[in-house]
Each structure stands twice: as C-alpha cells, then as structure tokens.
C-alpha cells in the first residue's frame, strides 16, 4: 500500500490556480522529492498533505487515512518539519521536546526515554538546557527533526529541510534521513529546490505552475533529456567552438572556460574530437545530463528561477 496517495488535487486562491490536478503516489519506505520553483504550488501541496489546508478538489490519503475525513488519523502517522522552525525560542531544547511529547499524548518515563533517544540520535543532548532561540540555524534544524521524530511517525513530511544548513550539516541530515528509511522503513516526503538534494531522492515529482510536469527516479528524469553531456576544458574555447562547428556542425554552449555539448552517442563524439582535434583541449568529460538540465528542458527556465519558496503560511487563506 502506498504511504501517500495524492489524487487529482486542485487548489485556488481566488482566481489564481495554485494546483491544477496533481496526482502521484509515494510507496512505503521511499524517499520522495517534490521539486519546484517559486510559485509552483509545492508549499500549498505540502500544506494540504500535512492537514493544514482544506482540500478544495481531489483527495489525499496518508498512511491509509483520508486527509479531509480523518485528519487526526493522518496527524498521528506523520512527523512534519516546516520551513520556518516551529520551536519556541523562549523554551529550552528539552522543554520544546517535552511540550511536543505532551501534544502527542506522551508523558512520564516513556516520554523521557524517547526524548533521550532522539536527542542522542541527532546529537543535541549537550544542548538540552539551551534556549532554542540561542541555537544556530543548523542546530535548530536538528532539534526540529528530533521534535518530529519524537512520536515515531511512519511518514516524515519535510518542507525544505536544509534551509539554513551549511553543506556539512546538510550531509549529516541526509545521512539521518537515509538511515531512518533503511532501518525503520520510514517514508519520507521532502520539498526542495536544491538539485543536490533531489539527487538523493528515490523518486521525484517536478511541479511547475501547479502542474506535475514529470515524475520518476532521477535517472528516468535524466533520460527525458536524452543523450549525453560532453564537457570540454580548453585553453582557447572560442577557437575550439569554431573548430567544432566547422568539422562536426556542432553547436556548443559556453559555460565559463568550458564548452558543453548535448548529443546522442556522446562516446562516439568523444572519440572523434579526441582523434581529430588533438591538442585543442585539456580535458574531455562525458557524462549523463544533470537534473538541472532536466529542469531547464522541462520548464524552459534556468536554475536561477528556482529559489526558496517564501512560506505562504503567514498569509491568511480564505
């Protein structure tokens, strides 16, 4: 049974369509990514799945419970972290966790043990007495994740989980998520705008302007671009570019000091360039297209269009 089933979800803010019939399924024990630029509707979708926003059309099932008819059933299954931290800055780390435990009906020694466990797991035990507002961004995020693991949810919903994390902390966080999935079969749904994070997902759904424009594993998505990507480092890229056009009728893309070519059968081209233009390049690299290329191909927009979606939660929805 799929852990999350999103079926023909539509959502409007007045006349503006935020989601236009989105459907996908997340099997149990999978890390699934929702990738999309600003205004793609991914935060709206996230809010609908996490029971914070009423469904206007379509249906969502989480852990076998229907989001609109049994929100509490869903809430018991899910651990949610939001883009903006939900910690109370005036409480200590431990107090925040105790508070969270009480909200989930945990108390006494059971709660104490759970708190110790998640604090150890996320390496925040030595900060238990610190006020949450005094913590760095990375530590806050860890407490946030500890908080959402406290009630042993079987499904994690993470909205831009690496916001404010440096690469090291981001790497640690993903190690934690991957071990949760591997060892405990936890299903994880993340929204992200970082290609590096998207690569870590087993499957991805790409949202753009409220529509699901692609869904599949990173490899499957890359195949949509087709061909290979050849990167050539050269001392004189302009000259090389002209030579490539003359000899092979190739259009190359200048990226910094390098040239990039997207082409079927890249390995043949690689051999041709290597044998016919020796001395014109310093290195030839053949690779599969990146998710970045996929995104550009599907949306017609570059990566600069993908920024962190501003949390819409501060606005009122009617």
């Amino acid at each position: 049974m799929a852990a999350v089933v999103v079926n023909q979800i539509e959502h409007r803010y007045g006349d503006r369509v935020a989601l236009a019939g989105v459907s996908f399924e997340v099997p149990q024990g999978e890390i699934f990514g929702l990738l999309g630029p600003n205004g793609s509707g991914k935060t709206t979708l996230f809010r609908i799945i996490s029971t914070l926003m009423p469904i206007q059309a379509g249906s969502v099932t989480v852990g076998g419970h229907d989001v609109s008819s049994d929100p509490d059933g869903v809430r018991r299954q899910i651990g949610v972290t939001f883009q903006s931290p939900s910690l109370d800055g005036k409480l200590t780390v431990r107090e925040n966790l105790v508070h969270q435990g009480h909200l989930y009906g945990l108390s006494g020694t059971g709660l104490k043990d759970r708190i110790q466990l998640v604090m150890d797991q996320l390496g925040i035990t030595d900060r238990a007495r610190d006020y949450a507002e005094k913590l760095s961004g990375g530590l806050k995020r860890r407490v946030e994740i500890a908080k959402c693991l406290l009630h042993s949810p079987s499904i994690l919903l993470l909205d831009e989980p690496s916001t404010g994390l440096d690469p090291g902390a981001r790497h640690e966080m993903w190690k934690t998520l991957e071990s949760l999935r591997r060892e405990h079969g936890v299903t994880i749904l993340v929204t992200t705008h970082l290609m590096e994070e998207a690569e870590r997902c087993a499957r991805l759904a790409i949202l753009d302007l409220g529509k699901l424009i692609a869904c599949g594993s990173p490899d499957q998505l890359r195949e949509m671009v087709g061909g290979d990507s050849l990167t050539i480092q050269a001392d004189d890229p302009d000259r090389l570019s002209l030579l490539l056009t003359e000899k092979f009728q190739l259009q190359s893309q200048r990226v910094g000091a390098a040239l990039r070519i997207e082409q079927e059968n890249g390995h043949e081209l690689l051999t041709n360039i290597a044998t016919q233009l020796p001395g014109e390049f310093r290195s030839l690299t053949l690779g599969k297209p990146t998710l970045e290329d996929v995104f550009i191909k599907l949306t017609g927009r570059g990566l600069e269009a993908i920024e962190s979606e501003t949390p819409q939660g501060k606005k009122k929805k009617h």
Binding site: V80, Q83, S152, E172, E183, V186
Partner: protein, 288 residues
C-alpha cells in the same frame, strides 16, 4: 559532533501510547503560556505596573471630583476605592491582550503550525491558550486586589472602607476568573483573525479599551442616554459590577449596580459563548 550514531540508538516505530490527548494538550499549552510570560520580565512589569500606576495617579488626581455614598456620619467612598475593581479588570484586560497577541507571534514564527499538525482536538488548542492567559490574568489581578488596599498604609491611597473577608476574596477570585476567561476568549478571537501585531493594537485601542472605559470601571452611569445604554449593553459592565458587589461593604454606593445574579449570568455566558466561537473559528479556518 556527529548528527547520528548509526544503529546504536534505534528509533522504535511501535505506536506510542496516547493518553488523554485533550487534557495533555490543553495543559502543556497553558503551561507554556505561563512559562513564556515569566521569562519575559518586561511583560510582567508592564501588565501589572501600568494599572497600578493608573490607579494611584487617577485616584489621586480625581479624588476631589467624585464622591460616592456616605451619609452625615460616614465619609463615603474615595474615587480610588471606587476605581479599584475597575483597575483589577484593566489588569485582566492587559494580560489577556498580551497573551492573545502571542497567537499572532506563534503563527508568524511557525510555532502554531507545529501545534496544528498534532493529533489534538482543536478545542484543546483553544482551551490551552485561554487557560494560560486566564491563569496569568487571574494571578496578577488577584494579587492586585490583595495588595492595593495595603497601599493606604504607605500613603499611596486614601483610607478605605473596604474589608477583605474570606467571602469577598473567594468571590473576587471567582469573578476575576470569569472575566479573565471572557476577555482572553475575546482576545483569541481577534488574534486569530488578525495577522499582524500592529493590526491587533488598532483593535485594542478601538474596541478593547473603550469596552473597559464603558464598563462602569472608570465612572458610573451618566446622564447621557446613549452612553448609559452602551454601558448597559457592554458585557464587561457586569463583570466589573459583580466584582464591585463582592468587594464593597458600604451598600449605599451600590445603588444602580446590577444585581449579583445578573452579573454572574452575563459574565458566564459571555465567556462561554466566546469560547465556543473560538473553537468554531479554529476548526473552520486554520489560518496558518
């Protein structure tokens, strides 16, 4: 520091025992409210300091202009003494306002969404917030009712006729609790629908403070017909009147004050109705 010690500490995925979710959720939210308040010293001083200052300054400044009750033999009641229940209501009002503002902050800072995705009844979220605010308001106002009469001995207040008996203290406690519940519920309602602290301040100046001014807290009825009606229709009038009734010994100053039963009924209804509206609006519009 490693974020994770692989496999040594396993997270158990077995379902955790859920106790009485409603009580736990209300309790923990209420406790949080109180803890937050106590950790913000400026709030403590502001909420109790300002009304006491008002009481002393207005009391001293207006003492010559008012005279209530008193016969040929008795001195009657000073304005400051008349003003006392009103100031207690003002403390309740200020504390309720501040604890309601925290809903707006909770929403903007992201704390509220964490609460809203928890499997707790929406009514317990409302209850937690309101109980927390009520506890704070009640505590401060009750402290004031006990401490204020003592100020006459240090010269900050004129001599008073008021005597604090066990009955009047219990009565005052219960009435302050009812008023606190009502005003915190009212504040919750506004805070839920308003998305900025600035907007809330406008409501405070235009609705909440006038409501207090026209509750008989500051001055008794007047000759103006419309103002008299406004006072009569203001639910807070009955809270202040009830408080006045349980605290006052000299019956001659209670002429025109609504009867105690009416005060209890109106104040209780006011709190109950607003609480119900709060629960309804929290269910209907999550507003995050």
């Amino acid at each position: 520091m490693s974020m994770m010690q692989p496999s040594t500490t396993a997270i158990s995925t077995e379902r955790v025992q859920t106790g009485n979710a409603w009580l736990w959720a209300s309790w923990t939210l209420a406790v949080r409210e109180v803890v937050r308040f106590l950790r913000q010293r400026s709030r403590v001083t502001g909420a109790i300091g300002q009304p006491i200052l008002f009481w002393i300054l207005f009391g001293a400044g207006l003492s010559g202009s008012f005279q209530f009750g008193g016969g040929d033999t008795t001195a009657g009641m000073s304005f400051q003494e008349y003003f006392l229940p009103g100031v207690a209501a003002l403390i309740v009002l200020f504390t309720s306002i501040f604890s309601s503002i925290s809903i707006i902050q909770d929403r903007n800072e992201g704390f509220l969404q964490g609460v809203l995705v928890a499997p707790v009844p929406r009514s317990s979220i409302v209850m937690g917030k309101i109980l927390g605010g009520t506890a704070l308001a009640l505590l401060q106002a009750f402290l004031f009712v006990i401490v204020a009469p003592l100020l006459q001995f240090v010269g900050l207040a004129p001599p008073m006729t008021l005597q604090l008996s066990a009955f009047s203290l219990i009565g005052a406690f219960l009435f302050l609790m009812l008023i606190s519940l009502g005003l915190t519920s009212l504040g919750y309602l506004f805070a839920w629908k308003i998305d900025s602290v600035q907007g809330y301040h406008a409501v405070m100046s235009l609705v909440l403070l006038p409501m207090w001014l026209m509750s008989g807290a500051f001055f008794p009825g007047t000759d103006s017909v419309w103002l008299t009606w406004l006072i009569r229709l203001n639910p807070l009038t009955y809270g202040v009147a009830g408080l006045r009734r349980v605290l006052t010994v000299d019956q001659s100053v209670l002429v025109g004050v609504p009867p105690l039963w009416l005060c209890v009924v109106v104040t209780t209804l006011f709190a109950a109705v607003l609480f119900a509206i709060d629960v309804w609006i929290t269910r209907r519009d999550q507003a995050v």
